[in-house]
């Protein structure tokens, strides 16, 4: 396993991440999803070793931060939604300043990606737009031979053309089966295409963590008349949304179930998130 999180708890003021467990083998992409304030960034900070868990353990490539901090950090590439680099320095200067800490940092690879992302290495970091700053972080993360890329909501700041390029680079990154990616995002349609694993967080708790096929098997979206939906087991209906012309409900899928006269589809991640966040509320 490239990443193993075992029963991790973390308190941050009033907020608490509760019993998070997660596994990600090499060669796959994990999508980290959840509404705002669900704890995605806190979990990423824990994986990055910026926070220490109150309980539980985090292993990266079988190593723990307590004994192998340097080795772990060599394996991590990071893109966070904030300005990590020095404003007054050029991209090249910034990269060499921080790159010298990494054994496998390669300026050649950095320049290759900067060129591919249409960024000028001699421009100052502060002159870049938000999206360009993230592109630079992404290029830097790729330049030191990381094994696990951790990307915190970068896609929202990328233009559609670059988004396609971005996913292309991600696919290339995991192609050798030795590396993995954790991608936190609100743009879930991207995850439908690319993610192999999903971790869905809400209010600091894991609602679902596993491979995307299991997630797709577990739930169904049914559309039809209200009384027909209500004929299903009450406990299985996660949320029923009543509309003027039609009713939709996310339900737990049972292998032997017959959805009598209901239109049944496999929910997209976005639909899943939408219904999950509404569960427990009245339609």
């Amino acid at each position: 396993m490239l990443l193993e999180i075992k029963d991790v708890c973390k308190r941050l003021g009033n907020f608490k991440l509760k019993n998070i467990s997660l596994q990600l083998p090499a060669g796959y992409i994990l999508g980290l999803i959840g509404p705002n304030g669900a704890g995605k960034t806190s979990l990423i900070h824990l994986i990055l070793g910026l926070y220490e868990p109150n309980e539980g353990e985090i292993l990266i490539d079988g190593l723990s931060y307590t004994d192998h901090e340097v080795d772990i950090r060599e394996k991590l590439g990071t893109v966070l939604l904030e300005d990590l680099f020095v404003n007054g320095l050029t991209l090249k200067e910034n990269a060499s300043r921080f790159g010298e800490f990494y054994k496998n940092y390669s300026e050649e690879i950095l320049l290759k990606y900067l060129n591919r992302f249409h960024l000028d290495a001699d421009r100052k970091f502060k002159q870049l737009s938000k999206g360009e700053k993230l592109k630079f972080q992404f290029a830097f993360a790729l330049s030191h031979d990381a094994k696990l890329l951790i990307l915190d909501e970068p896609t929202g700041n990328f233009d559609p053309t670059f988004r396609a390029e971005f996913f292309e680079v991600l696919k290339e990154f995991i192609a050798d089966g030795q590396r993995s990616i954790i991608l936190s995002t609100h743009l879930t349609e991207d995850l439908d295409r690319i993610a192999d694993y999903i971790c869905y967080l809400e209010k600091g708790e894991t609602i679902f963590a596993g491979d995307i096929e299991s997630l797709r098997d577990k739930y169904r979206l049914v559309v039809g008349e209200e009384y027909k939906i209500k004929l299903l087991r009450k406990d299985d209906i996660i949320y029923l949304e009543k509309g003027e012309f039609t009713n939709r409900a996310l339900v737990i899928n049972r292998p032997s179930r017959l959805y009598d006269a209901l239109k049944v589809t496999v929910p997209t991640i976005e639909e899943l998130m939408y219904f999950m966040t509404k569960r427990g509320k009245k339609s």
Partner: protein, 238 residues
């Protein structure tokens, strides 16, 4: 690590970065210049060339470096492959630069003053002590916000230490007043005046700074971990 810290400091020592670090207190440096400059120029009667203001440069430099490079490292450095020992070494090297360079600048300025006959050895020693105290105070990076533990609830708990806050006030005020005092004393003034200033320096800012620096190891330990340096809900404890 010293070389690395020096290289990083030189690369980032730019006016633009100083301007952008106003939230760390760079505005205080401007206030300091605004208060001290007229006092010194007015006080030092023998100095027609206005060279006396050079004595402010090491202090201004110490102020700019302390706001530009606080004890806490940039977030990316916590993500870089460094062990806690390496990080500690880097932080301590950075503290040495922040304190050492202003002290060296002071020595240089005092040599010029002695060479020009503007001061004698007693005043030179007093000014050196005064500026050293100021450089240690600012360059050590010790501050109340940095000195607190994260408790089990995820709050940073800061010891409510009145002595700590009083120390900060005493050091700043005494150093500023003594700088003006040293500049106001003429080389022809009687020796007891110069000795009196030196004794005040030895009795007030020097021991207070010594006490204050007891908090320094705690601040260094705190800066090793990103979690301790970030903005978090703070509670004061008695």
């Amino acid at each position: 690590m010293m070389q690395l810290a020096m290289r990083n400091y030189i690369r980032a020592f730019k006016w633009q970065n100083i301007k952008e670090s106003y939230h760390n207190g760079s505005w205080f440096s401007l206030l300091y210049i605004g208060i001290m400059l007229p006092l010194i120029l007015n006080g030092w009667k023998m100095d027609e060339a206005g060279i006396s203001i050079l004595i402010l440069f090491p202090n201004i430099f110490a102020m700019f470096t302390s706001v530009l490079y606080p004890m806490a490292l940039p977030k990316l450095m916590y993500l870089c492959p460094m062990s806690k020992e390496m990080r500690k070494e880097y932080i301590i090297s950075a503290c040495r630069i922040r304190t050492g360079v202003p002290i060296l600048l002071t020595i240089l300025v005092l040599i010029i003053f002695l060479f020009l006959g503007l001061i004698d050895w007693v005043s030179a020693l007093g000014m050196l002590l005064n500026n050293t105290v100021f450089a240690l105070f600012l360059g050590s990076g010790t501050n109340a916000k940095g000195y607190g533990d994260i408790d089990q609830r995820g709050y940073r708990s800061i010891p409510l230490n009145t002595a700590f806050s009083v120390c900060e006030g005493v050091i700043i005020l005494s150093c500023m007043l003594l700088t003006v005092g040293y500049c106001a004393v003429d080389i022809t003034d009687p020796m007891w005046v110069k000795l009196l200033l030196l004794i005040i320096t030895l009795l007030i800012p020097v021991p207070v700074t010594r006490y204050y620096l007891k908090f320094w190891p705690g601040s260094v330990e705190n800066a090793l971990c990103y979690e301790n340096t970030m903005k978090q809900p703070i509670i004061l404890r008695k």
